[in-house]
């Protein structure tokens, strides 16, 4: 089934959907421009703006439900940026509204949580300003009805991410991590920019509708080139191989940021881009194959990295990479996979945010300690954190009837049907997930205490635990709600299309059983190693494989050898040429203009008589010229 036509819409909440972007943006502007005067209420304003955006999103959602399914793509045109070329407008359809609800709902919860988490930080107002900025940019990214608006949002979330990773910029590690994220994303964003240029050159439009029209018209269209360029952008933003290296370092940011930006929303923008560009990807098998390969490679790499990390946030970051790999895999399959990709994206947004915030709650209790080897036995002291975290854990490993079970299993089943090799690799990934997530839970909440002497763990305040509870409820029920009866696939169909034949959910398919068995083996192995056995307080040396995983699969070393050193040589070479060749040319040109300017200046003597003379001569020349031209 093909996506539906876009219907122009005005009035109602959908007509006012720009408010979703404007409100948080206003919040950010007030907090950043207002300065210290807004310190007192800054966090409350930030929360209010985010909640207001959620309310608008929810109302728009209900208004959208009121239309027949075929009429649920509503275009809201705002204004012509460059008349005849670029219209700026929004597109409210099932895909974008799903994202809006996720971003504003999880975003609001994380705003609320941050009130408690950042309570003692002197720069709390600035933190909320950046969070608001992020929400606005992310909503622009998903709501824009064209690639240009998407790009502006894309850069906006990149900026917010940079600012928030480096929020504690007094720490050199945070400053470096922010820079790293920015530079790696530059590579991806450059790909996206060239991709958009190519789209414009091909279709003479950057709007989704214009692209769809152009494809319908046919002709020679460089689908594969556009698809691969867009994928490069997606890889940068979603930390997929080969641009994954920044995400682990990004954990230097405050934990709510890791939960919101680097787990639940921003890093999934790449998946959104691939799904939104479905008409382009579906026309090119090559690009689709590359998407699925990137997805599988990343889901395995992320899982392997997750097995060896002792830093709780980095282990979770590895897991995020891995889960986005699953989404990417599904997004590469086409209409059969889109619904599962987005459904997993939404459930993942809930359970991963839940676990990140849980990790934040643990860190809050343990003097910001992140080393899991110094945790242990926390389940009794932090019951709410433990229970909510445990629910998130069960959801991510795919424990039957919880969210991950439905959405991840959907991806795996679809992938096995699509391409057996990739599918079974995804099953293997699920097994590793069972291992590393169990390891994380056992090391943190079970076993003996291995705390530092000055640690006094305690349960977090209510403002932090309530978001955890709400998120964990989502982690329990959302998967079943979305997947059973193909509810989400049917809802999304007007926006992204769907396969002719709806899949049927089989609770005990062979693939599902093998997956469950592998997960059980992984969890059991983790229990033997980290649950029942002593966990050494200092990490043992480990085998070659452990080191391999601990060093992020030598990703940084690879980048250093392949890009940084040759890059440094290249810059030296470029500087040499720049100084000798280009600067020589530019400088002599500048000197020429400057010299001309200096000489011409002398005409400006300051004597009114010479000015009058110049007017007189000018007038004579003008009259003469007129004569010459007139008599031609």
């Amino acid at each position: 089934m093909e996506p539906a036509e876009i219907i122009q819409h005005s009035g109602g909440v959908i007509g006012a959907s720009w408010l979703m972007i404007a409100l948080p943006l206003l919040g950010a502007a007030i907090l950043l421009l207002g300065g210290r005067r807004t310190d007192r209420f800054g966090h409350l304003l930030g929360v209010a703006m985010s909640v207001a955006a959620f309310v608008v999103a929810a109302l728009a959602f209900f208004q959208l439900l009121g239309f027949a399914p075929g009429e649920r793509r509503r275009g809201v045109s705002l204004y012509d940026l460059i008349p005849g070329i670029t219209k700026i407008g929004l597109l409210v359809d099932p895909l974008s509204i799903s994202f809006c609800l996720l971003i504003t709902f999880v975003g609001s919860l994380i705003h609320i949580y941050s009130i408690g988490y950042m309570a003692h930080d002197p720069a709390r107002r600035r933190f909320f300003a950046y969070l608001n900025l992020f929400v606005a940019a992310m909503l622009l990214l998903v709501l824009a009805d064209n690639y240009l608006g998407l790009y502006v949002g894309w850069e906006g979330v990149g900026l917010a991410s940079y600012l928030l990773i480096g929020f504690w910029q007094h720490k050199p590690s945070a400053a470096t991590a922010a820079k790293k994220a920015f530079i790696v994303n530059r590579v991806g964003d450059f790909g996206l920019a060239i991709g958009i240029f190519t789209i414009f050159a091909t279709f003479h439009s950057v709007s989704y509708a214009g692209v769809a029209d152009g494809i319908a018209k046919g002709g020679s269209i460089p689908f594969t080139a556009i698809g691969l360029l867009l994928l490069l952008g997606a890889c940068g933003k979603s930390a997929q191989l080969p641009l994954q290296s920044w995400l682990l370092d990004a954990m230097e940011g405050p934990t709510p940021v890791s939960a919101l930006i680097h787990a639940a929303t921003m890093v999934t923008a790449g998946v959104y881009l691939v799904v939104r560009s479905g008409p382009i990807f579906q026309a090119t098998d090559t690009a689709q194959l590359v998407v699925t390969i990137v997805g599988v490679a990343t889901l395995l790499a992320g899982a392997i990295i997750g097995t060896a990390k002792d830093d709780i946030k980095k282990a979770l970051a590895g897991s995020t990479m891995s889960q986005i790999g699953y989404m990417m895999l599904a997004a590469g399959i086409g209409p059969a996979g889109y619904a599962f990709a987005i459904a997993h994206l939404i459930t993942h947004g809930f359970f991963k945010a839940d676990m990140f915030l849980g990790a934040g709650s643990v860190m809050h209790a343990m003097n910001d300690e992140v080393d899991m080897r110094k945790y242990g036995g926390l389940r009794k002291l932090m019951p709410i954190t433990f229970v909510t975290f445990f629910i998130g854990y069960l959801a991510i490993i795919g424990f039957p009837l919880l969210s991950g079970y439905f959405t991840k299993d959907g991806i795996i089943e679809t992938a096995v049907e699509h391409n057996a090799i990739l599918g079974w690799l995804a099953v293997l990934g699920a097994g590793i997930t069972g291992f590393y997530m169990s390891r994380l839970v056992f090391m943190t909440f079970f076993g003996k205490k291995r705390w530092e002497a000055d640690a006094h763990p305690h349960e977090s305040p209510a403002v932090m635990t309530w978001p955890l509870i709400i998120l964990s409820v989502g982690a329990v029920v959302l998967g079943a709600f979305l997947v059973l009866g193909n509810r989400f696939m049917i809802f999304l169909a007007p926006a992204v299309g769907r396969p002719e034949e709806l899949p049927s959910f089989a609770p005990f398919s062979p693939t599902g059983l093998v997956t469950l068995a592998l997960v059980a083996v992984g969890a059991g192995f983790a229990w033997v190693r980290y649950g029942s056995a002593e966990v050494p307080a200092v990490a043992p040396r480990g085998s070659f494989l452990t080191t391999f995983a601990r060093r992020d699969l030598y990703g940084d070393a690879l980048n250093e050898a392949l890009f940084m050193r040759p890059g440094q040589w290249l810059t030296r070479l470029a500087v040499f040429f720049d100084n000798r060749g280009i600067d020589g040319l530019v400088n002599s040109l500048a000197a020429l203009i400057g010299g001309t300017s200096g000489r011409m200046r002398k005409v400006q003597t300051g004597f009114v008589r010479s000015y009058a003379l110049s007017i007189f001569v000018g007038a004579a020349v003008l009259v003469g010229a007129w004569f010459v031209v007139g008599n031609l």
Binding site: I593, A612, V623, A625
Partner: protein, 516 residues
């Protein structure tokens, strides 16, 4: 012919905006004559602002009521779409300039006193001031309104003088650096008189050619009269000299840097925005209405002038070390960019596209330039405003907000996207390309690049140089100045991000072109 002179019919409603401004100016003169000294300033300001606001309201009312399609006052004044758009622009720009004029003690205590004399000292101590500034500004603004609307060369000449004479005076009234200010006034007056003579001589020759000073009649005479081409060419060229002088087209630009530098900065802001807008309106009307049938002749000449103006403005600005002179050269270069739009004529659709582009450009440039000069008034040291660029070094470290706003204005001058300057340039160059003036556009883009250099150089200076030890301080802006800077910055952002409403307005205004 029994000696009776028929009473002319005057459409007072159409002329109301001008009449309000002139009336308020005359009331201002009466205030000068009868009100006690200590009350004058308090009376002048509300009168001035209210009359400008009322005139603006009347202009809007005319637009709402329907734009007249026939010239008013027996064909002497054409209140048409472009006129009304230009009026609105001038009135808003004049309103903000008056806020700037009112703001600080920019004006001399006793203009007649010899600079540095005991008499001047005394006047300063007595707290004297020249409140005549307000009626003078109103007269100048009235002239600016009449100048682009004049449909008759003699009315246009009168308007030119009504606009210019008060400005000559105002130029000489700076409180500090009085010699420079007086020199500027004298230079402006002498050269202005010189160019007015050209204008008047051109008018006379054209009258000799066409037998009328009415623009429409000159236009119809173009094809009908034979064998008088000398009169026509010389007359048209001389008229052109007078008009090009006012917009500072090369080689008639020499006065601009000296006058802009010497004048009190708020007056410079008024001249750089209002006068430029008015002069372009008049230039367009003369060349498109009266000489429209002759565009094959004048367009190559204006091509030359435009190219020379852009090059002179951009290249000479590079070596300037004085912020006001730099802005003056920048204004010359922008005049050149606007001339690119003037020569892009052709079909009616093309003309209306060019005209709307020029109108938009004028609005965009007017606001940015008032904002930039407003900021110049705020950067001061012991000797008054600090004009030398070296004094601006490191300003970004000391007053980041002010320096940031100024940098933003400079980027708008340079035409960076998301500022009003970008869309102004884009619209004019696009119209010029479709009007077949591609070589001009290429020159325009290259000179824009040269111009970007000196704009960015100031930004680099403000943000990446170490501040001078005894550098100027930024005075805390009064409400008026802060308002002016805020309005200008908002307009620059708004027109850069959301240009459509004003583009639409300009398109509507330009749609019917000039009435004849």
């Amino acid at each position: 012919m029994n000696g009776n002179i028929p009473a002319p019919t005057i459409e007072y409603a159409q002329l109301a905006p001008m009449l309000v401004v002139f009336g308020a100016a005359i009331v201002g003169v009466l205030v000068e004559a009868f009100a006690p000294r200590y009350l004058r300033s308090a009376i002048h300001l509300p009168i001035t602002l209210l009359s400008l606001a009322a005139a603006f309201g009347l202009t809007i009312w005319q637009v709402v009521k329907g734009v007249p399609t026939k010239a008013a006052a027996m064909g002497a004044v054409a209140v048409d779409g472009p006129s009304l758009f230009i009026w609105g622009t001038i009135l808003v720009l004049a309103f903000v300039s008056v806020l700037l004029i009112n703001d600080e003690d920019h004006f001399v205590a006793a203009a007649a006193a010899v600079p540095g004399s005991a008499e001047e000292e005394q006047a300063l101590h007595a707290g004297a001031g020249h409140t005549e500034v307000y009626p003078l500004v109103l007269f100048a603004v009235g002239g600016m309104l009449l100048f682009p609307a004049a449909n008759d060369l003699l009315v246009m000449f009168v308007a030119l003088e009504v606009m210019s004479l008060p400005l000559y005076l105002l130029c000489g009234l700076a409180r500090r650096r009085r010699l420079l200010s007086q020199e500027a006034a004298v230079k402006y007056f002498l050269l202005g008189a010189f160019s007015s003579a050209f204008f008047l001589y051109g008018t006379a020759l054209l009258y000799g050619y066409a037998g009328s000073v009415d623009l429409a009649k000159i236009s119809t005479a173009l094809g009908a009269v034979g064998g008088q081409d000398t009169l026509l060419y010389v007359g048209a060229a001389m008229l052109g000299v007078g008009l090009l002088f006012k917009i500072g087209g090369a080689p008639f630009q020499a006065w601009k840097p000296d006058v802009y530098q010497g004048s009190p900065t708020p007056i410079t802001a008024l001249m750089a925005s209002g006068t430029l807008v008015a002069a372009f309106g008049a230039l367009l009307r003369v060349f498109w209405v009266a000489l429209g049938g002759l565009d094959w002749d004048w367009s190559p000449v204006l091509w030359g002038v435009a190219i020379l103006t852009m090059i002179v403005g951009a290249v000479l600005a590079i070596t300037q070390t004085d912020i006001k002179r730099m802005l003056a050269y920048s204004s010359i270069a922008h005049g050149g960019f606007l001339l690119v739009g003037v020569v892009a004529t052709g079909t009616a659709a093309q003309n209306s596209a060019s005209l709307s582009a020029i109108l938009f450009y004028l609005v965009a440039y007017g606001f940015t330039t008032v904002g930039a000069f407003a900021i110049v008034t705020m950067v001061r040291d012991a000797g008054g405003e600090a004009w030398h660029l070296s004094r601006w070094a490191g300003l970004g470290k000391r007053s980041p907000l002010l320096a940031g706003t100024f940098a933003f204005f400079l980027l708008a001058f340079a035409g960076i996207p998301l500022t009003s300057g970008f869309f102004g340039k884009y619209a004019v160059f696009q119209a010029a390309v479709s009007g077949g003036a591609l070589p001009l556009v290429i020159v325009g883009v290259v000179t824009s690049a040269v111009a970007a250099f000196f704009y960015v150089r100031v930004i680099v200076l403000m943000f990446f140089s170490d501040p001078a030890a005894d550098g100027p301080s930024v005075v805390l802006p009064s409400r008026g100045t802060a308002l002016v800077v805020g309005v200008a910055a908002l307009a620059t952002v708004f027109l850069g991000v959301f240009p459509q409403p004003v583009l639409d307005l300009a398109q509507n205004a330009a749609h019917s072109l000039f009435v004849r």
